[in-house]
Each structure stands twice: as C-alpha cells, then as structure tokens.
C-alpha cells in the first residue's frame, strides 16, 4: 500500500490497491485531512486526504456535489479550507503567507471547466496572462505592452495547442474547444510542473472533449508534467489516468491504479 494513504482518517475506509510502483516517487501535491463546509453545517469535504506523485496522471471522479471542485480549489487555497494541510512541491501552503502561496501557484496550471478566459481580449493576451505569477505589471497585462520574447513565448504555447493562427482572435469569438485549448496554452505559459484541470471537457462536445484530453495526455507525457483532473466520464478517467481517486459525499472512497479497475467498479461511486 502506498505511503500516501497512511494518513487517511475518513470515517469510511477507502478501497486501496497497491500502487504501480509510485510509492517512492516524490509527491507534488499532498492533501491531508481537508475539511470544508459552506453555510450552516453544509459539510462538503469531510477530511479528504490524497496525494499526487511527480509526473503521475490522477483522475478524481465523483457525482455532482461530491466535492471534486471544492477539493481542487481548497488544495490551491482558491477557497480557504476549514481544516487540513496542503503540501505543494514540498512547501506547506495551507498556512503560508500570500507571497509564498502566489509563488507556489505559479508552478501549477489550473484549467477550469468553463476555460475562464478574459473575454474581449485576444487569445495571445490571454496566454501572456499565464506569466503574471512570475512577472507581474503592465508588461504582462496585454500583448500590446508585452516584450518581444514574451509574445514569442506565448505564441509558442499557442502553437503547442495548435492555435497559433488564432493568436489575434478575440477570446469570446473562439469555439468551446478552442477556448479550452487557449486555457491550456495559458497554463503552459506558466511552465508548470503540474496541471490541475477541473472537469476540463464537461462543457465540450465529445469530439472536442476527446481532442482536449488527447492534448493533455500528449503534453503531460511529453514534458513530464503531473496532471490531476476531475471527470464525470468513467471511461475517460480510465483511459487517461495512471490512478483514480473517487470521492463520494465529501470522502475519498477509492484510490487505485487505473489498470486495476474496470468501468463497472467506478460506476458504483456515482449517486
């Protein structure tokens, strides 16, 4: 059993399967005992613990409202968790000051379900925004003020997602699939060690969704980027991940290598 599971303290014991030789690999992200509630007693996360190893692709699955998105947001403190610790690349960020937190976040590219591009500005400017964590200020606000090297870097990221010919197109005039690819290019601009993707294909049609997942797969494997993604699609989770975590009613109920699982094993964790 992987060391990463030892700290699990949830009420319901998760199903754990011996990992695929990742026990000694460095953990890029370690979440321990994370709890989060909204409003009066609406407990969304009930002591969630999990880890993601270097260069590993992990799928977090679960039904609507199970706590997937909240877990990801709490892990990067986009939402402040009530309890729990988070180690990101060896730095404990759960109680870190804002400047430390910001520095740690620059190594993580976050891709959202609805891409969250800035509308009315070009795809190129949106990608340049990915560099804001490393170098803020007016030079990073728009391609109008950006240096030549920054523009070239952003264009190269667009090239990697196959959209360099759409660089000057307004973000709100791109299709859903194109927008998500620009969001991935923005994440790549961060030169991330890890990408966290919250249901990245949920709002796309099956073909565009497949393209985006293939793109994730190619980029993460080619460049050794760790990937943590959430999905509703069991088959997609099996196809694209090394390991699967299932979350149900705010608790991790499964943590196992993907090659040891079948779609039927995962379907029971919905509902």
């Amino acid at each position: 059993m992987s060391e990463a599971h030892d700290y699990f303290t949830g009420a319901q014991a998760p199903v754990m399967v011996p990992d695929a030789g990742l026990g000694s690999a460095r953990c890029d992200l370690t979440v321990k005992g994370m709890r989060k509630s909204f409003g009066k007693g609406q407990l969304i996360l009930k002591g969630v613990s999990f880890s993601v190893h270097q260069e590993e692709t992990v799928a977090l699955i679960g039904s609507n409202g199970a706590g997937k998105s909240t877990a990801l947001r709490c892990a990067l403190r986009l939402i402040e968790p009530d309890e729990g610790t988070v180690d990101l690349f060896g730095t404990t960020i759960s109680d870190a000051r804002q400047n430390v937190l910001r520095r740690s976040r620059t190594d993580v590219g976050f891709v959202f379900q609805k891409h969250n591009l800035v509308p009315r500005v070009s795809a190129l400017t949106n990608v340049i925004h990915g560099n804001l964590g490393r170098s803020g200020g007016p030079a990073g606000w728009s391609q109008l003020f950006a240096s030549r090297s920054l523009r070239q870097q952003a264009l190269a990221c667009l090239e990697r997602v196959g959209l360099s010919d759409h660089a000057m197109k307004r973000a709100d005039q791109l299709s859903g699939g194109q927008s998500q690819r620009v969001a991935i290019a923005r994440a790549l601009m961060q030169q991330p060690r890890m990408i966290v993707a919250d249901e990245p294909v949920a709002s796309l049609d099956p073909v565009a969704g497949q393209e985006v997942m293939d793109l994730f797969h190619r980029l993460t494997k080619e460049e050794g980027i760790t990937l943590l993604f959430t999905s509703h699609n069991v088959q997609q989770a099996l196809d694209y991940s090394d390991r699967i975590l299932a979350i149900k009613r705010g608790e991790i109920v499964l943590d196992a290598p993907s090659n040891s699982l079948k779609a039927e094993d995962l379907n029971e964790h919905y509902g």
Partner: protein, 266 residues
C-alpha cells in the same frame, strides 16, 4: 384555481394606503394645477411667437461660447473619468484585499463618491465660482466632480458584476490582486465603462449649459442675459444651438459606443 392576487396583510394594506396618500399630497405640495396649465397655454404661444425668427446678430460670439461649453464638458468628463477609476476600484465590493486598511479605503471612497453624486452640479459650480472665480474653469471643475460621482458609482457596480471566473483563473496562476484587476476585471467591465463614460459626456454637455447661469462659463450666461433683457429671439438662437450640440454629442456618442463595443482585439 389559485387567486389572481394574494390578499395583502393588514400592515401591507396600511402601507399601500399611506403611500397613496403621500403621492396625492405630493401633487398638492408640488402645486400641480391643470387650470394653470391650460391658462399658461396662451402665454407660451405668446412667448414662442416673440422668439421667432431667431436672431443671427451675435452668431460668431455665440458659436465661440458654445465651443467653450463643449470644451468644459469634454475636459471635465475626461478628468472625472480618470479620477473615478481608482476610486471605483477601491469602492467595488470584493475587489481589494479583506484587511482593515482596505475596508477604510472602501468606506472612504464610497462616501466620497456618494457625496460627489448627491450634491447637484449647480451647487458644485457655485462652490467653485467662489473658490476659483467666475469662468469656465469653475464649470469644468463642477463637471469633473459630478462625473466622478456618476462614473465612480457605475464603474464600481460594473466591476462588482463581472464574471469571477477569469479573475479566479489568474489568481490560480499566481497573479497579484492589481494584475488581476487590470487583466481580468477591467477588460470585462470595459463595455460598461465605455457606455457610462459616453453617457457622462452627454450629461456633462447638458449640465455645462446650465452651469453658465451661475457664472461658471459657457453659453449659459448668454442665455441668462438674453432672457433678462427680454431678447427672446436671441434666446431662441441659443436654445437651438444647445439643442443641436446636445443632439450631435448624443449621436456621435451612440456611433462611438457601437464602434468601441464591437471593438478591436488587444
């Protein structure tokens, strides 16, 4: 079958009655009189007959005053917009950090904007005539202050209303608050900024005419003198010139609004 209307409770009913009574009392307080309206008709016809034909005697001087009026409106609006932007950022809920100092800035900027907005521009003009003297500068300052109040409020509200997703994405990428505001919030609020700014210019153009009445420059003083000397033909010329100016500003504003909102890519 459900009732078409819910029967009001006793307190709700009393509130409706009191409201209706207050509205009726307000008509009385405002001196509303249909008889005075009817009897004023001939006087209005007499006034209009004495304004025709408009006098062209002082057209060059009036044109110069009209240009000055628009210049006051334009400069006052530009200064007002520039000052209102940082104030609006401080006054927008949830945009700055949640600290004691930022809460003081938040309350202070909201109070300032409310003060600038609620005191009428004519009062500001009177204040600035006393402080900087008669002339267009006093009018320009009055318009700037009024614009800060107008734009400050609407800029802040439009920034509060923008979709939070892009800001969250940039925060997740490690961007600072300032970068997030300039990269995600302001571009998303830009259509509203443009619309509000052009409305502010239209409003300022109308205001700049009235400000002249208290000596704050522009064509307003010409109108006051013409009315005081019963030179109604000259007054009509001035009214028509103001009408054309306001119409032109509104029309150009509308075209500019559409062009800018269609927008170039940045």
């Amino acid at each position: 079958m459900p009732d078409r209307f819910e029967r009001p409770g006793i307190l709700q009913f009393i509130a409706y009655v009191l409201l209706a009574a207050f509205v009726i009392w307000s008509f009385q307080g405002a001196g509303w009189s249909f008889s005075a309206l009817v009897s004023g008709g001939p006087a209005m016809a007499d006034f209009l007959s004495r304004t025709w034909p408009p006098s062209m005697d002082r057209l060059p001087q009036l044109s110069s005053a009209l240009v000055e009026t628009f210049q006051m409106a334009l400069v006052g609006t530009i200064i007002g917009i520039i000052v209102s932007l940082p104030l609006a950022i401080l006054a927008a809920k949830g945009l700055t950090k949640q600290s004691f100092v930022s809460r003081i800035f938040y309350s202070g900027s909201r109070l300032l904007i409310a003060l600038f907005r609620t005191v009428p521009d004519l009062v500001w003009a009177l204040v600035f005539v006393i402080t900087v003297g008669l002339g267009p500068f006093a009018g320009t300052l009055a318009i700037a202050v009024d614009t800060i109040g107008f734009c400050g409020r609407f800029f802040a509200e439009s920034m509060e209303d923008v979709e939070k997703g892009p800001s969250e994405a940039l925060t997740a990428a490690g961007a600072s608050k300032v970068d997030t505001i300039f990269c995600a919030v302001i571009p998303a609020a830009m259509p509203s900024f443009v619309t509000t700014s052009l409305f502010a210019l239209e409003k300022a153009t109308r205001s700049s005419v009235v400000l002249g009445l208290v000596g704050a420059g522009g064509i307003g003083i010409e109108l006051k003198v013409a009315m005081d000397f019963f030179d109604y033909q000259l007054a009509m010329t001035i009214i028509l010139m103001i009408f054309v100016l306001v119409l032109l500003v509104e029309r150009i504003g509308s075209i500019a609004r559409n062009r800018i909102l269609e927008g170039n890519t940045q």
